[in-house]
C-alpha cells in the first residue's frame, strides 16, 4: 500500500514537470532539455533554505520560484532567436552547466554527497509525514499546475503562444512581441518545475545531483511526447505511462541495475517510435512541425 502511494506521489510530481514542459514545448514550440536542472534548482533552493537557515517550507517554495525565474531568464534571453533544434541544443548546454554547478559547487550543494535531513512539509506547525498526507500535497500541486497551464493556454496569451509555435514571423508581423512571450512562458514553466523540485526534496528528504541529470530531462521530454504535446491531458497520460511502465518491470522481478537500464531503453525506444510514427503522441495536438 505504501508502495502504491509512493508511485502515485511520483506520478503527481512528474505530472507537474510534464505539464510545465508541455506549456513550453507543446504549446509554444520551445523544446527544452533543461527541465531537470530547473527541477533541481527548486529542490536545492528549498532544501538549502530549510536545512541551513531553518526557514519554513513555504519560504523555500517562494525563494525557489525567484531562483527559477532568474535562471530561466539566463536561459531564455540569450536563446530568443534560436530556432527549434538550435534552441534545444542551447538548453542542453544550460542543463549541463547547471548540473555541473550542483555537482561541483561543493561548498553550497555538498556536491555528490547531497543534502540530507530535509524537513517534510508543514503547515502551521503541523508536519505532514504520512504517505497519504504527502500524496494530498502532491495532488494539490499537480492540480494547481494544471489549472495555471489551462488558464494560460485557453486565454489570448495562449493564442499568441500557439502562434509563436506555428509561425513566429507571422506573429511578429501582427505586432506580437514574441520575445516577451517566450521569456514569460519560460519563467512560468521554470517556476512550476522548480516547485515540483521543492516537493520532491521535502518528500524524499535527501537529494543529490544524480536525480537532476540530462537523462532526467530526456525522461520528462519523453513524457510530454508520449502523452501528446500541446494537449490537455497528454502530460498526465505521459507521466502516468512512463512512471507506471517501468514499475511493472520491477514487479516482474528484474534486478535493479538492469531494470534501470532497461527502463531507459524503453524510454529511448518510445521516443524513436513516436517520432517515426506519431510525433503528436497519444492525445497530442502538436507534432513538432512535422
Amino acid at each position: 500500500m505504501e508502495y502504491i502511494l509512493h508511485i502515485l506521489v511520483l506520478v503527481a510530481i512528474y505530472t507537474v514537470l510534464s505539464v510545465s514542459l508541455d506549456l513550453l514545448a507543446g504549446h509554444t514550440g520551445l523544446l527544452s532539455l533543461s527541465h531537470a536542472a530547473l527541477f533541481g534548482l527548486g529542490a536545492y533552493s528549498s532544501a538549502l533554505l530549510t536545512t541551513r537557515f531553518g526557514t519554513s517550507v513555504f519560504v523555500g517554495f517562494l525563494v525557489a520560484m525567484v531562483v527559477a525565474v532568474l535562471i530561466s531568464f539566463c536561459i531564455s534571453l540569450p536563446s530568443l532567436r534560436l530556432q527549434d533544434d538550435y534552441f534545444v541544443i542551447a538548453t542542453f548546454g544550460f542543463q549541463m552547466i547547471l548540473f555541473s554547478i550542483f555537482n561541483n559547487w561543493i561548498a553550497v550543494t555538498h556536491g555528490p554527497m547531497g543534502i540530507t535531513n530535509i524537513p517534510q512539509p508543514s503547515i502551521f506547525g503541523w508536519t505532514i509525514s504520512s504517505r497519504v498526507g504527502l500524496l494530498v500535497v502532491a495532488l494539490l500541486l499537480a492540480i494547481f499546475a494544471y489549472v495555471v497551464v489551462i488558464l494560460i493556454t485557453s486565454s489570448p496569451f495562449g493564442r499568441v503562444l500557439r502562434a509563436i509555435r506555428e509561425d513566429e514571423i507571422f506573429a511578429r508581423a501582427l505586432g506580437k512581441r514574441t520575445y516577451r512571450f517566450k521569456v514569460t512562458v519560460f519563467a512560468v514553466s521554470a517556476t512550476l518545475s522548480a516547485w515540483a523540485g521543492c516537493l520532491y526534496a521535502h518528500y524524499v528528504t535527501y537529494i543529490d545531483p544524480a536525480s537532476f541529470t540530462v537523462m532526467e530531462s530526456i525522461l520528462v521530454v519523453s513524457m510530454v511526447i508520449v502523452g501528446g504535446a500541446g494537449s490537455r491531458w497528454g502530460p498526465f497520460i505521459g507521466a502516468s505511462v512512463l512512471v507506471l511502465l517501468p514499475e511493472t518491470l520491477r514487479i516482474v522481478g528484474l534486478p535493479s541495475t538492469f531494470a534501470a537500464n532497461f527502463r531507459q531503453v524503453i524510454y529511448g525506444t518510445l521516443l524513436v517510435v513516436m517520432m517515426m510514427f506519431r510525433p503528436r503522441g497519444i492525445v497530442g495536438k502538436y507534432d513538432f512541425g512535422q
Binding site: 496569451f157 514571423i169 512581441r177
Partner: protein
C-alpha cells in the same frame, strides 16, 4: 494623411547589393505598386520597412518618427501591416482565430490578466464581433470556422488581407496579393484595395502581373538592381520601353 518614406537605403547580402541608395516617398489615399524583375530588391524593401531586416545604411520614417531601428512587432503596432510572398498564417487555426489573433491591444495577452481573467471575456466578445465584421467586409464570413489550410489559395490571400485589417493597420504593404489566383478573385481583392484606399489607407503592393498593376494602382514604382529606375502614373510608366526591357532582360 499617413506618410511613409525612406532615404538612402542600402542593403547587401553576402556581397550582393539588394538595395542601392534607395529613396521612397509614399502617401495615403493612393495605391502604389512596385514592380520589377526578380532580385530587384522589392521584398527586401518591404522587409526593411517592416523591421524584419536592418538596412546597412539609410533611414525610414513614418510621419516624423524614425522607424529604421525598430523591431518588427513595434513597427506593426504603429499601424503598418504586411503580407508575405509565401503566405504566412496559422494553418492549423480557423479563419476566425487568425483574424482574432491579429486584434491589437488585447489585455488577455498579458500573463496577469490571462490568469485572473477579469474583463477578458468582454474583450474577447468585442474582438469576435470585430473579426466577424472584417470577415464580412472581405467576404470570408461564411468560412469563419474553416481551418486556414482548407481554404483555396485565393481565399488564403483574402485572409492575409483580413489579418492586416484586423491589426487596424493604416498602412498595408502587400507582397504579391493577387499572384497565382483566379482572375475573378484577383479583381475582388483589387476592388477591396480601392475601397480601402478611399477610406484613407496607404496601400503598397508588389506584383508581377501587369494587368493588376494597370487596374488598381494610382502610382507605379519600377525597381531594378536595388534602385528605383522609374515611377509615375501607370499609363506612362508601363509603356516605356526600358521598363519592358528590364522585365525581359
Amino acid at each position: 494623411m499617413a506618410n511613409l518614406r525612406c532615404t538612402g537605403l542600402v542593403k547587401s547580402f553576402d556581397g550582393v547589393r539588394a538595395l542601392s541608395d534607395l529613396d521612397l516617398n509614399l502617401s495615403s489615399g493612393r495605391i502604389t505598386s512596385i514592380i520589377g524583375p526578380n532580385g530587384a530588391g522589392k521584398t527586401t524593401l518591404i522587409n526593411i520597412l517592416t523591421g524584419f531586416l536592418e538596412p546597412d545604411a539609410g533611414k525610414c520614417f513614418l510621419e516624423q518618427q524614425e522607424i529604421s531601428g525598430l523591431s518588427a512587432p513595434r513597427i506593426a503596432q504603429l499601424g503598418i501591416g504586411r503580407t508575405f510572398q509565401e503566405l504566412r498564417m496559422i494553418w492549423r487555426g480557423s479563419v476566425l482565430e487568425n483574424v482574432i489573433l491579429a486584434r491589437p491591444h488585447q489585455r488577455g495577452e498579458t500573463l496577469f490578466w490571462a490568469l485572473t481573467r477579469l474583463g477578458v471575456r468582454q474583450e474577447e466578445d468585442k474582438n469576435y464581433q470585430e473579426a466577424i465584421r472584417i470577415l464580412r467586409f472581405v467576404g470570408l464570413e461564411g468560412k469563419a470556422n474553416d481551418l486556414a489550410d482548407e481554404l483555396s489559395y485565393g481565399q488564403q490571400k483574402l485572409l492575409s488581407l483580413a489579418c492586416c485589417l484586423s491589426m487596424e493597420a493604416n498602412i498595408l504593404l502587400l507582397d504579391e496579393p493577387v499572384a497565382g489566383i483566379h482572375p475573378d478573385m484577383a479583381t475582388r481583392i483589387l476592388d477591396l484595395l480601392k475601397v480601402l484606399r478611399d477610406q484613407g489607407k496607404l496601400i503598397v503592393f508588389i506584383e508581377h502581373d501587369i494587368s493588376a498593376v494597370r487596374a488598381a494602382s494610382d502610382h507605379v514604382i519600377v525597381m531594378d538592381h536595388g534602385q528605383v529606375i522609374a515611377q509615375g502614373v501607370p499609363r506612362e510608366v508601363l509603356d516605356r520601353s526600358e521598363i519592358i526591357e528590364a522585365y525581359l532582360g
